[in-house]
């Protein structure tokens, strides 16, 4: 049975439809990503899953519970890190952790958790004095303090520097290794590629695709792109004559060729037959970025 089941979820704020028929299922022990441009309905979806919003239509089940009706029971086993959630400035890190730990029937060891998140030395610091990265780590610690079976992390690395981001990713991987199911909301492609087993791509309140990051990348038009400087002149028509080549663009002495998956081998074979070498050669496989642009309306407008 899936840990999280969302079926035809619909949520409207006045005239604005934030989420329109979103469905997906998250399995035990996976890191499931919700990916999409800003304003796509990611946070609303997560807030419905966390019991903060009541869906207008459709159903949400988390560990077999209704997030709204069974809110308090749900929060015993689902840890949530929300965007823009603050704390009283004058409470110390350790005090906050002990306070939230007391709300759970089976809390985690607070000292061990703080050590794991590198906040141990900040135990006596007041919340106000923490840096952005430290506040973010404290938010993750609070999501984990109840020994949850599921954690929901909304944009957890937004505002972190690249170093802190990488550390946070390692932390999420550790959490998963301890058997916890992770629902991760992000608009960073790199984050989704690095962490997620599967990704739901959401755009304008609808699920556009659910797949592995690799599977999604392959849907993004697929294919390859190569750029090079030929050692001797070559005609566009010769390149376009190859069935694998879709487009040829020249930028000064550089040629950019795009096409199907066998593009690189076809073009290099042609160059070899002509005894032309490809200088400054760069090859790109289509990525999740391309899929994102290709599959979302956001990309089509640009």
């Amino acid at each position: 049975m899936p840990v999280i089941e969302v079926e035809r979820l619909h949520k409207r704020y006045g005239e604005l439809t934030a989420v329109d028929e979103v469905s997906f299922a998250v399995e035990q022990g996976e890191i499931f990503g919700i990916l999409g441009p800003n304003g796509a309905g990611k946070t609303t979806t997560v807030e419905c899953i966390s019991g903060l919003r009541t869906p207008d239509a459709g159903s949400v089940r988390v560990l077999g519970l209704d997030p709204v009706a069974d809110r308090d029971e749900l929060h015993q086993s689902v840890g949530v890190q929300l965007q823009e959630a603050g704390l009283p400035d004058k409470l110390q890190v350790r005090e906050v952790m002990d306070l939230f730990a007391s709300f759970y029937r089976d809390p985690a060891d607070v000292a061990a958790l703080l050590r794991r998140l590198g906040l141990h030395e900040k135990s006596r610091d007041r919340y106000k004095k923490l840096s952005g990265g430290q506040k973010q780590r404290l938010a993750i610690a609070l999501a984990l303090v109840g020994n949850p079976r599921v954690v929901v992390l909304d944009e957890l690395t937004t505002g972190l520097d690249p170093h802190a981001r990488r550390e946070t990713w390692e932390l999420v991987e550790q959490v998963r290794e301890s058997g916890v199911t992770v629902l991760l909301v992000t608009h960073f492609m790199e984050e989704a590629e690095r962490l997620c087993d599967r990704v739901a791509l959401i755009d304008r309140g609808r699920v556009v695709a659910v797949d592995t990051p690799e599977g999604l990348a392959a849907r993004g038009g697929g294919g390859q792109r190569m750029r090079f400087r030929p050692s001797a002149p070559i005609e566009d028509a010769d390149l376009l004559a190859l069935p694998e080549v879709a487009t040829v663009v020249r930028r000064g002495t550089q040629i950019e060729v795009t096409g199907a998956d066998e593009l690189v081998s076809a073009v290099t074979a042609l160059l070899a037959r002509r005894q032309i070498t490809a200088g400054s050669l760069r090859i790109e496989q289509s990525s999740l970025d391309d899929a994102f642009i290709h599959l979302t309306e956001h990309g089509k407008e640009n």
């Binding site: 966390s50 019991g51 903060l52 009706a69 069974d70 809110r71 308090d72 029971e73 929060h75 015993q76 840890g79 949530v80 929300l82 823009e84 959630a85 603050g86 704390l87 009283p88 400035d89 004058k90 409470l91 005090e95 002990d98 306070l99 939230f100 007391s102 709300f103 759970y104 029937r105 938010a139 609070l142 109840g146």
Partner: protein, 260 residues
């Protein structure tokens, strides 16, 4: 007293429970924060200062015929004592909760297993103890130091005072459940507080008010409290009015509670 009422309200929905350890920890947090941001102590210091001023004016201790043989101080000690619960219920409670909401701290609690009723009840419990301390301090100062006489029927006085406090606290809880900023909290609590101040006789002794105002005063929590002290009207009727406020405020506030 009030805390019990509030904690009982969420049990209408059976699954909404919080651990007793969690409730104690939440109360502990409020106590810590009160000492680190001691603005709320003004709500005791202000009435105490007022009592000191009254107590040090020589003429206030003479029995007055117009007050039925009681001295001005005798009349004002209960009124000044009533300022503490009114300030705390109408201003302290809503603005403390609103400042949590304003800083998005309630959003953080909203994804923990703490129910809205528990969130309110913990703060109400701490403020109740705080109020009790303030009222006891003022009554002791007034009677032991300045020699004021308390009303004779102590049972009616204490029961109506407790019920009156529960009633204004319950109304303050509605403001605390809804106010999204400290300013809004003040805007919601202040008119109710001034109404209660008026009918508790802070501005004008209630005995000097026109009859129609005295009747209205019976339906305002601290008007009802003062009436039951002076023996005006039926005691059971005043207590019923106060209990009505408490029940409605307790139930409504837990239902309309906003996390953000």
């Amino acid at each position: 007293m009030t805390a019990v009422t509030v904690a009982a309200a969420p049990t209408a929905r059976p699954r909404r429970r919080m651990t007793s350890r969690g409730f104690r920890a939440l109360m502990g947090m409020h106590v810590k924060l009160m000492f680190r941001e001691p603005g709320v102590f003004v709500m005791i210091l202000l009435p105490v200062a007022l009592l000191l001023v009254f107590g040090l004016i020589p003429g206030t201790k003479k029995p007055e015929v117009s007050l039925g043989g009681r001295s001005t101080l005798d009349v004002y000690v209960p009124t000044i004592a009533a300022m503490v619960p009114l300030l705390i219920a109408c201003s302290g409670l809503p603005s403390l909760m609103a400042s949590f909401r304003e800083r998005n701290a309630l959003r953080r609690f909203s994804v923990s297993p703490v129910p809205p009723g528990g969130m309110l009840a913990a703060l109400v419990a701490v403020l109740t103890a705080f109020t009790l301390g303030g009222v006891v301090l003022i009554v002791l100062l007034g009677t032991a130091v300045f020699g004021a006489h308390m009303p004779t029927d102590l049972g009616a006085v204490i029961s109506s005072f407790v019920l009156g406090f529960a009633a204004v606290m319950a109304v303050g809880m509605i403001a605390a459940a809804l106010a999204t900023s400290s300013g809004m909290a003040a805007g919601m609590g202040m008119p109710f507080m001034i109404l209660n101040f008026f009918f508790s006789g802070l501005y004008v002794p209630t005995a000097e008010l026109p009859h129609v105002f005295q009747t209205i005063g019976g339906y305002v929590p601290f008007g009802a409290v003062m009436d039951s002290w002076s023996g005006q009207g039926a005691l059971w009727q005043h207590l019923a009015v106060l209990a009505g406020y408490t029940v409605v405020g307790g139930v409504v506030s837990a239902r309309v509670f906003r996390w953000e």
